[in-house]
């Protein structure tokens, strides 16, 4: 019987290696905050963190950065007055800025076997400096490569034992896309449901993309 549920946070985070690339989903909602705490406790070092934004002065990303375990941050947005911004300015954190749509598309490319793609986004900007471009149908385009993780940290509303997931409202955001792009996708879910309780036409993230699921009933606000 396939059963992707794990009993403890430690079990969920077991085996993450130093040097791992961590995909962290979430955008205001849908951030797997407990898994981030688990990552800190687990203690893997020399990490590359791939997330939409670099966080603020507090919150899970700031806490992880404060451990010094993150070598590089890949994201679309870093505030000057954030833990990430301060570390970047102090030279303690390498930052790669990727436009948000290109970030999502590069992660999807990693999950879907696309080996590289051309996009006009950022082609005529500082972000294109020194990089390969090509004019296609009269538009200047930038060559972008897939962005895979070794581990993806994902939040869900419901999960079954095969790892089929739903995500609530705009808490969906990067979760289904990042789940595709790592060989080890770890999920925290608010609700555990029986296999078959999620109708097959309403699955948001198919179990094929999920390796471990931790039930976190009390983390979210009630609903």
């Amino acid at each position: 019987m396939i059963n992707k549920f794990v009993a403890t946070l430690a079990e969920a985070m077991a085996g993450i290696q130093d040097g791992s690339r961590i995909l962290l989903a979430g955008f205001g909602a849908g951030t797997p905050e407990l898994l981030m705490r688990g990552l800190i406790e687990q203690g893997a070092k020399d990490l590359t963190l791939i997330a939409n934004a670099g966080g603020r002065m507090d919150g899970p990303i700031a806490e992880l950065l404060a451990t010094g375990h993150v070598r590089k941050l890949v994201c679309s947005f870093v505030r000057a007055d954030s833990e990430a911004g301060k570390r970047m300015q102090a030279g303690n954190l390498e930052v790669e800025i990727v436009p948000q749509g290109t970030l999502a598309e590069r992660i999807r490319a990693a999950g879907s076997g696309v080996q590289a793609f051309y996009t006009p986004t950022a082609a005529d900007t500082l972000l294109a400096e020194g990089r390969e471009t090509r004019v296609i149908n009269g538009r200047n385009c930038l060559l972008e490569y897939p962005l895979a993780g070794d581990v993806a940290l994902v939040d869900a509303w419901q999960a079954d034992r095969w790892g089929n997931l739903t995500h609530r409202d705009s808490a969906r955001n990067f979760n289904p896309v990042m789940a595709m792009a790592a060989p080890l996708t770890i999920v925290q879910t608010r609700h555990v449901v029986e296999l078959g309780a999620i109708p097959p036409e309403h699955v948001h993230t198919a179990g094929v993309f999920v390796q471990r699921v931790l039930h976190v009933p009390m983390l979210h606000s009630p609903a």
Partner: protein, 218 residues
């Protein structure tokens, strides 16, 4: 200059002015800042569908404090509502919409716009200690139309943000179609900025005096 005879629009005034020009049926993304306010000035019975980068289609009015849903935010991470007929998609699908030419309109804030349609809205210098790109580069090149909402002049020195050439790092080249400022509405044309509208009482000379780029008139 007869400055006393005109009243610049406030930020809500700019948003309301933009809302006037959005017809029913358009599919629209509103950037952070002045643009976010545009939807407040589109009446619910004129059906305009608002999109947010984080995968929300059909943003409704802001919720009352007691109705806030922590699972539902816009691209500025503010609580929102979804209107009847709305839908959720994931981030890659959301940017497929933005980058694939499906937005009839995107309204962004900016530091500067140039007469060739260049926009600069993410950094004031190459090396500055903030990297606030977000989704602006995707939206700027992907939408069918890009309009900019911003103050005509900088707050401190009153410098013109309507430029012959942008002085700040670009967000995208040659994409802006129209600029809505506190003083005027400017269309980007092959010949430069064409003035479509000005606040009441403002003269052509007064507007040109506040504008680095050369203006042209209908």
């Amino acid at each position: 200059m007869a400055d006393i005879e005109f009243q610049p629009l406030d930020r809500n005034g700019i948003a309301a002015r933009i809302a006037q020009d959005i017809p029913e049926g358009w599919f629209v993304n509103l950037g952070i800042g002045i643009p976010t306010g545009v939807s407040d000035f589109v009446p619910m019975d004129r059906e305009v569908i608002f999109h947010a980068e984080n995968g929300v289609i059909g943003i409704g009015p802001a919720p009352a404090p007691e109705d806030i849903n922590p699972f539902l935010v816009n691209a500025g991470v503010q609580p929102i509502t979804l209107r009847t007929g709305g839908a959720y998609v994931h981030h890659a699908d959301s940017f497929a919409i933005a980058r694939g030419g499906h937005l009839d309109l995107c309204v962004l804030g900016a530091f500067e716009v140039a007469q060739n349609g260049d926009i600069a809205n993410w950094a004031r210098a190459a090396g500055e200690p903030t990297k606030q790109v977000g989704g602006a580069m995707d939206l700027a090149v992907g939408a069918k139309r890009l309009w900019v909402a911003m103050e005509h002049n900088t707050k401190g020195k009153g410098q013109s943000r309507i430029r012959r050439v942008c002085s700040y790092p670009l967000t995208a080249k040659g994409v802006v179609k129209r600029v809505y400022t506190d003083l005027a509405v400017l269309e980007v044309t092959d010949r430069g900025f064409l003035v479509l509208d000005m606040v009441p009482g403002l003269t052509r000379d007064a507007l040109q005096a506040r504008t680095e780029a050369e203006l042209i008139w209908p």
